[in-house]
């Protein structure tokens, strides 16, 4: 058996992300043709502002999926919970100091995720049930806190949503988070997260501290959702309690498109990020058609269709690769 080159190694290990990248590029071309202004400074800036909350929520879902907590259905509702809490408890009380806002956003995200992981591991309830329950509870709570879209973000945060240039605060936020994540993937902690997700029992008997590892993964997810809530608040410069389901479903679509295994242990941001961008591009492209009131239905229909097509394509491509590999071995 010969040693493989770095390139084949990379393509093998990152193959899961292939469909998402391909889809993203195809959609970029279509979107560019339909609406050339997308590729202007303000076009890109606006797109980034629009997409950042989704990218961050999908990234948060990726971390918990990797550690084996299945698909986090609560993520979208939790992001909105951060948004409405900021509006109700800070902005409506005329509190707007950046450090308090950031601290509360991240604090809420982390606290809710920690409660969930404790219920999963200590009480031993299936992750998907815990996150479904959290989704339902938070969606309701969001409407209790804020009965309709209202409130105003402080000026500094509202300015995040301007998106006039490519390099705004939102762009910086996304870049910092992604760079931090890729540094994190080089740590032993990240390897442990993957190992626990791949086979929790094996990890346990091999002496990996399973509870601590899952806790860390959920804390990271909480931080990301807190930042997503912050970005969302900046994007709409106000509070909106109605978008819990929309964001959860869009983020699940991004996660699955990105090739991360819902069974845990495989996948990563290399697929999730283009996956989220692709999902955002779908609704962007559709918005260039005069669909009127049908827009949101058509968008959901398109999500579903593209998800199935992209995954089918991925399976076919993988089948061909495996067959090639087999015949190469023989």
């Amino acid at each position: 058996m010969q040693q493989k080159t770095k390139f084949t190694r990379f393509t093998e290990r990152s193959g899961y992300a292939g469909s998402a990248w391909l889809l993203m590029v195809v959609l970029l071309i279509i979107a560019g043709v339909r609406a050339p202004y997308l590729f202007t400074g303000s076009g890109i800036g606006g797109f980034i502002v629009n997409t950042t909350p989704l990218i961050l929520v999908a990234m948060a879902m990726t971390v918990t999926a990797l550690v084996g907590s299945n698909v986090d259905l609560s993520a979208g509702a939790l992001m909105i919970f951060v948004n409405v809490s900021l509006v109700k408890f800070l902005f409506d009380q005329s509190i707007g100091a950046p450090w308090i806002v950031v601290l509360l956003a991240i604090g809420i995200g982390v606290a809710v995720q920690v409660i969930q992981v404790v219920i999963m591991t200590v009480v031993r309830i299936e992750p998907i049930i815990v996150t479904l329950a959290a989704f339902l509870a938070l969606s309701g709570l969001n409407l209790v806190i804020l009965s309709r879209p209202q409130g105003r973000a402080p000026n500094w945060l509202g300015a995040w949503g301007a998106g006039r240039d490519i390099f705004g605060p939102m762009t910086l936020l996304v870049i910092v988070v992604i760079v931090a994540w890729f540094l994190f993937t080089r740590t032993g902690l990240f390897t442990r997260i993957k190992l626990v997700g791949a086979n929790e029992r094996t990890a346990f008997v091999s002496g990996v501290p399973v509870f601590r590892t899952r806790l860390v993964a959920h804390v990271i997810s909480g931080v990301l959702i807190g930042l997503a809530g912050l970005a969302y608040t900046g994007f709409i410069a106000s509070g909106n309690p109605t978008q819990s389901a929309t964001y959860t479903l869009a983020a699940v679509t991004a996660l699955v498109l990105g090739g991360t295994s819902l069974a845990g242990g495989a996948g990563g941001m290399l697929g999730t990020v283009p996956g989220a961008i692709a999902v955002s591009l779908i609704s962007f492209t559709l918005s260039t058609f005069p669909l009127g009131l049908l827009a949101s239905f058509v968008t959901q229909f398109a999500y579903g269709l593209i998800l199935v097509l992209a995954l089918t394509l991925g399976v076919l491509v993988r089948g061909i690769v495996v067959r090639k590999k087999r015949s190469a071995v023989a």
Partner: protein, 538 residues
């Protein structure tokens, strides 16, 4: 034994009860129950550094439970297990105390790489932190040494064959430089050559001063290299034997509580087979395009054995015979008494022709772990036992009773989970459901893996009865000894194809082993072959 004074000048004697310091493993009055099942009911034993200590017993005697307590997976109900004087509460503490365990199940993180699996959960002391590239290199070296050929440390474990995955778990234990190594049925997924390499590794660990605890029911192999053996029966220690006292008969007697009697083993191979009309023919079958074609004719009443080193195509071939795996070219046909012969391409063809497959990899291919004993039995039978879509439950129940009596299944209520049974009894349920389908051909792929000797003998009897009633049996085994006395003919595989046939008197362990390494003559010594292959590897 002289203590203290000599210890200052020479290393302390590593073996024997007189060794300095607390013993490596000390178990006293161990009790452990799982619900109704009392797995351990008073186990005592002591194992020392620098010895290979075997824990033997039949399935269900509690030896695997013992291994798991020493590894910190389970806590005892009462009694103590001390490692170098310290009690162990969880796997992390066990790992800190220097315990590394290779478990019976092949525990790997499938989607992670070889290197990540080898170094999983290993914590390094301050200042000895290893870089990722160091770990990759070390994992590659370790695996290549163990497996005998180069293994890429970046390979995803999922893509590797079962035996290599087992080596990954062994490498994981060895990479920790353990003071106590527990091998719980670790040879299960390895072929003979692999097992020999593992025994050599165990001896190396012992000579390095580690305490090697071997939990096994493969007692025949054990007798040659264990320093001491503790025998368990029904969750209790029944005795300890040492050195030359470790003989097969003595261990068997202690394990079962009765003296072994010769007539217990009737040789199915002694039954004559009339070779007129075959029940199954395979002509020019290539399991992969690159391999040579193989032919086979199986006659009613015949038991054919398949042997070979790991991955020589025998497993693919037996799967091709029963439609479980596709093959590249050639044809497989099952012949009925009256009807036209049926070609086998898919599993559906095979089931229609009643050529049935039994896997030794029970967990993956045999049982439904979350279903009951009865549901596991009934699974393939439902479809033929229906009136207008309504299942004939009573009829299936009768079949279950009939088979469980016939196979002397030792089980509680049939509504209990299949996982409440020992490995041997799980295999009986699987075999029972195959027998209930009146098979014409049964292909067994290493069915006795993880099964104790009594259950094995029962299995041979069942196969003999089945064959005598006119079915053909193909029996693949990774334990050569199994085939002797059982099989009328043995097909030895090499390089992906059938290498040679052995028949009647020719079927001896030595001949089979020789053929596995490509020798057709009889005048050689097993040790020579082993040595020459090891020399070739090093």
């Amino acid at each position: 034994m002289d203590l203290g004074a000599s210890a200052a000048t020479t290393p302390p004697p590593a073996t024997g009860p007189g060794a300095a310091g607390p013993p490596a493993i000390e178990v006293r009055g161990m009790h452990k129950s799982f619900g109704e099942t009392r797995a351990l009911r008073g186990v005592d034993f002591t194992a020392f550094s620098g010895e290979i200590h075997a824990i033997v017993g039949e399935n269900g005697s509690g030896k695997s439970t013992m291994a798991k307590i020493i590894s910190g997976i389970f806590g005892p109900d009462s009694g103590t297990a001390r490692i170098f004087g310290e009690e162990i509460g969880n796997p992390i503490e066990a790992s800190r105390a220097g315990v590394a365990t290779v478990f019976q199940e092949v525990l790997v993180a499938e989607t992670a790489t070889v290197a990540e699996n080898v170094f999983m959960g290993m914590r390094s002391e301050k200042g000895t932190r290893r870089s990722r590239s160091w770990k990759r290199e070390r994992a590659g070296e370790l695996m290549s040494d163990l497996v005998g050929h180069e293994i890429d440390p970046d390979e995803i474990v999922e893509d590797l064959p079962l035996a290599v995955r087992q080596w990954v778990t062994i490498a994981r234990a060895i990479a920790r430089e353990p003071r106590v190594v527990v091998f719980d049925e670790s040879t299960a997924a390895l072929d003979l050559d692999g097992a020999a390499r593992l025994y050599a590794e165990m001896q190396r660990l012992r000579d390095g001063g580690a305490c090697v605890l071997v939990v096994t029911h493969r007692i025949a192999e054990l007798t040659s290299f264990a320093d001491r053996a503790t025998v368990l029966r029904d969750g209790k220690t029944v005795g300890v034997v040492e050195g030359a006292e470790i003989t097969l008969d003595r261990l068997l007697e202690m394990m079962s509580g009765v003296a072994p009697s010769e007539d217990a083993v009737r040789a199915p191979a002694a039954r004559a087979v009339e070779r007129s009309a075959p029940v199954l023919t395979a002509s020019a079958v290539q399991v992969q395009p690159a391999f040579a074609p193989s032919d086979l004719e199986l006659y009613p009443g015949e038991i054919i054995g398949f042997a070979g080193l790991d991955g020589q195509g025998q497993s693919e071939f037996i799967q091709a015979l029963t439609g479980v795996a596709p093959f590249a070219s050639g044809s497989v046909q099952v012949h009925g008494d009256t009807e036209e012969p049926r070609s086998i391409h898919t599993l559906e063809d095979a089931i229609g022709a009643r050529a049935l497959y039994i896997s030794g990899d029970r967990r993956r291919e045999g049982i439904f772990t979350n279903l009951s004993i009865f549901e596991n039995f009934a699974m393939p039978i439902y479809k033929d036992e229906q009136d207008f879509g309504i299942i004939r439950r009573r009829s299936i129940m009768n079949k279950f009773r009939e088979q469980s009596e016939r196979l002397s299944l030792r089980a509680g209520a049939s509504t209990n989970l299949i996982t409440s049974l020992s490995g041997g009894n799980q295999q009986k349920v699987i075999i029972g459901r195959v027998l209930a389908q009146n098979p014409r051909v049964v292909a067994l792929n290493d069915p006795a893996r993880g099964v104790d000797i009594r259950t094995k003998r029962e299995l041979y009897q069942q196969l003999d009865t089945l064959a005598a009633s006119g079915a053909g049996v193909v029996y693949l085994s990774t334990e050569i000894d199994e085939l002797v006395g059982l099989c009328h003919r043995v097909a030895v595989f090499r390089d992906g194809a059938l290498f040679t046939w052995l028949e009647g008197e020719q079927i001896t362990s030595d001949r089979i082993l020789g053929a596995m390494f490509g020798h057709l003559e009889t005048d050689f010594q097993i040790e020579e072959i082993m040595e020459s292959t090891h020399a070739a590897e090093n």
